[in-house]
Amino acid sequence: MALFEGVKILELGAGAAGPVATRYFADHGATVVRVESSKRPDFLRMVHFTPDNPHGLDGAPMFVLMNPNKRSVSVNMSLPEGVEVVRRLIDWADVVSENFSPKAMTKWGLDYESLRARKPELVMVSSCLFGQTGPQRMYPGFGGQGAAISGFNHLAGWPDREAIGPYGTITDSLSPRYVALLITGALLHRRRTGEGQYIDVSQIETAVYSLSEMMVRFSAEAEIVTRAGNRDENAAPHGVYPCRGEDRWIALAIWSNEEWRLLRRQMGDPPFGQEPRFDTLAGRLEHRDELDAYIGRFTSEHEPHELARTLQEAGIEAGAVQNFDDLLKDPQLAHRGHFQTLCHSKLGEMSFENYGIRLGDGPPEMRIPGPNLGEHNDEILGDLLGYTPEEIGQLVAAEVLV
């Protein structure tokens, strides 16, 4: 039996932060139902809303790839009948996960206080950018703003250039891991005690919490950690070096004097490397620009994957800077079954990704691609909620199911 078989999750919201969190459950057998509508679709369905995309809201690869194994019902929540459908879905669900702005659920009468009165054992998680309380709770940013406010932009890149942040909006990939943990923890708590709970997650707070080291260093010494390229104060050389080919690079980190000797040997023990000023970490840190230039001349004669293998076999920490093409061919990711192919009704064969956890009892299972809008209306309303075909027809006619 799949790990989360029988667990019922209702998802309201859009983008990455909320929906990525529920994938852990969907991929392990939970029933995850997404509510959205063509009147107000998930904005990720519109990322590829360009003239060369003939499939409209069902043709956005990012949405499809982020939401496998989920079911979609299209409900227009601006109509009271639509809110009633969602209320019945909440009666069905063990967990409600939503990432709307804080006022939305209250506006529909679906805030936790109202729902708890009806269903005390409900687990509900809200995960908007800034949390449910406070003077800036209605601030409307996306992940790009989350990365800026939580400090990650300031921390990535070069000191003489813009504060760019690591690629991808980091609060969108970081906060879902916390949300998935909290949902599982709350389900475990409910199983033991029967008690439900409401969890208020601020995406920005999950990011600042992750940066506890930076915040404690500031508190202790007023130190402001700032982006420093690829440097590290505990290792030298430590960086990204050019390799043979176009835009090819290798990452390399030397943590000890012994590793430095091993690297020197790999470079053919040139006289430059034997200079005593490089014998200690302090010396290598002091002269790192010179060292980096020197190592770059060595690495640029090699292909990155081959060189990384040679260096790792010699006991040196190194790895190719992998681009998206490399990732699809990476033998380690293939060994873990990271990419799984499924056929989407409109976009054809697509590579879906797993997350970083493998459980001894069995891997996650990729069953269906991210759903088309309203694809499971009949199944959800009919089979799960017991609406008759006539009632469903009336809801379609009244533009409730759109």
């Binding site: 989360f4 852990y24 904005f43 519109m46 360009t50 690869p61 990012m62 790839l65 601030y139 409307p140 790009g144 989350g146 932009n153 990535a156 070069w158 250039r161 942040g165 690591p166 690629y167 991808g168 980091i170 990939s173 970081l174 891991r177 916390y178 943990l181 599982t184 709350a186 475990l188 008690e195 409401y198 969890i199 601020s202 707070e205 999950t206 992750s210 940066l211 506890s212 080291e213 915040m215 404690v216 202790a220 402001i224 950690v225 990204v240 690079w249 190194a318 790895g319 681009n323 998206f324 093409d325 990732l327 699809l328 033998p331 380690q332 997350y355 970083g356 956890i357 493998r358 009892d361």
Partner: protein, 404 residues
């Protein structure tokens, strides 16, 4: 949430956050270090610059809500003690190279015999098995091999990482989630299992389905610096950088309209911009000339204001603009202050009070947040070892032999 759960945390730095998260959720987490403390992991910077493992700021930051014991896994007596301890815990967390624990006689297969309910979580750069499983990697090499570094940075510079270790930040809550999943499974099966976490694989979700999209269209993403997609995301304000997306879609259009209004009130919206029709705006279909014209107008306005002015107006007018904060600005951020994100912890023997982010969420039933400061070296040896019947005299003998 995890009250009563017992976690034996043997992790080195990459796993500290996982143990901290479980401790901050109420679990009883016992941190295991080599005798004398983890000399490598308790790295600098140190409080007041004094090089002393008890003053390691990264250690103090990432080991809250844990108790601490010492144990030498390399000694046979240490291994025996570890086997006895593991029989009393629900979860074991470790970050050693694959196979290392087994070589010490304390691998999952051995420990589960005495404790079938044990959830065993191993966090490694690439996972327990497979062609790269023996490779060594810390943050830089993990993030490089996980695909994030190649696309971070500028076209005219080498790929670049984040200066704080995001490989550990992603793997931390991921591993905690894996542990929680195994605990859920245990409710049904009555037994624990291996939770094998790959830090490299955790990196891939930071790419926002980029590799899967590449498999469709075969166009490699480049390093676009401050540009996201086709338009600029990072802008120069008078005193630093702000983030603002010049992108369309239903959810963003009101903010574009509000920004132009704000600019117009400051006499910085040219007439064509004041008349701009945003209703059909689609950043995907703009011409290069149009992007240049729009970015010129918005950029000139942002450059005329301080980040604080811009952000205050952004909150007021619901504009999606934010300052690129540093640690000081985060510590003063009004919304985070209102929500009491920070807590002061006293360190009397160090003569210091340090402010920590207290939690990552709030629950209606409470129970999320730092419970105690990070332990001193071997601080809880007596009470923990007493649980497996080791008294003060025996503990002293073990200490003399360098086992604890």
């Amino acid at each position: 949430m995890f009250d009563g759960l017992r976690v034996l945390d043997l992790s080195e730095e990459p796993g500290w956050l996982t143990g901290k998260i479980l401790g901050d959720l109420g679990a009883d987490v016992v941190k295991v270090e080599p005798p004398g403390g983890d000399r490598v992991g308790r790295r600098g910077p140190f409080l007041a610059g004094q090089e002393d493992p008890e003053r390691s700021l990264p250690w103090l930051a990432l080991n809250t809500s844990k108790r601490g014991i010492t144990l030498d896994c390399k000694k046979e007596d240490g291994q025996r003690l570890l086997r006895q301890l593991a029989a009393k815990f629900d979860v074991l967390l470790e970050t050693f190279a694959p196979g290392q624990m087994a070589r010490w006689g304390v691998g999952f297969e051995i420990l589960r015999q005495a404790n079938p309910r044990l959830v065993y979580c191993a966090v490694t750069p690439f996972g327990q098995t497979g062609p790269y499983s023996k490779w060594r990697a810390h943050d830089l090499v993990v993030t490089a091999m996980g695909g994030n570094v190649a696309v971070t940075g500028f076209p005219d510079r080498p790929p670049v990482r984040c200066t704080m270790p995001t490989a550990y930040f992603h793997a931390g809550p991921e591993a905690a989630t894996g542990i929680a999943m195994a605990l859920w499974a245990r409710e049904e099966t009555g037994r624990g299992q291996l939770v094998d976490v790959s830090m490299q694989e955790c990196q891939l979700s930071t790419l926002m389905t980029g590799p899967g999209q590449y498999a469709q269209h075969h166009r490699l993403a480049g390093r676009n610096g401050a540009v996201l997609g086709r338009t600029r995301e990072i802008w120069k304000a008078r005193d630093g950088w702000v983030s603002f997306g010049l992108r369309g879609g239903q959810a963003r259009i009101p903010n574009l309209v509000a920004t132009v209004e704000y600019m117009a009130e400051n006499d910085m919206a040219p007439e064509w911009l004041r008349k701009y029709d945003w209703s059909e705006y689609n950043h995907n279909t703009l011409s290069d000339a149009e992007i240049e014209r729009l970015e010129g107008a918005f950029g000139a306005f942002f450059a005329s204001k301080t980040r604080r002015e811009l952000y205050e107006q952004a909150v007021e007018r619901r504009i999606m603009l934010a300052p690129c904060n540093d640690a000081k600005e985060i510590s003063e951020q009004p919304q985070l202050r209102f929500r009491e994100l920070f807590i002061s912890i006293e360190y009397p023997e160090l003569g210091a009070t340090l402010e920590h982010p207290v939690a990552f969420a709030k629950s209606s039933i409470g129970g999320i947040g730092i419970r105690s400061r990070a332990p001193r070296i071997g601080e809880h040896n007596a009470e923990i070892y007493a649980e497996i019947g080791i008294d003060a005299a025996e503990l002293e003998a073990l200490a003399d032999q360098g086992v604890v």
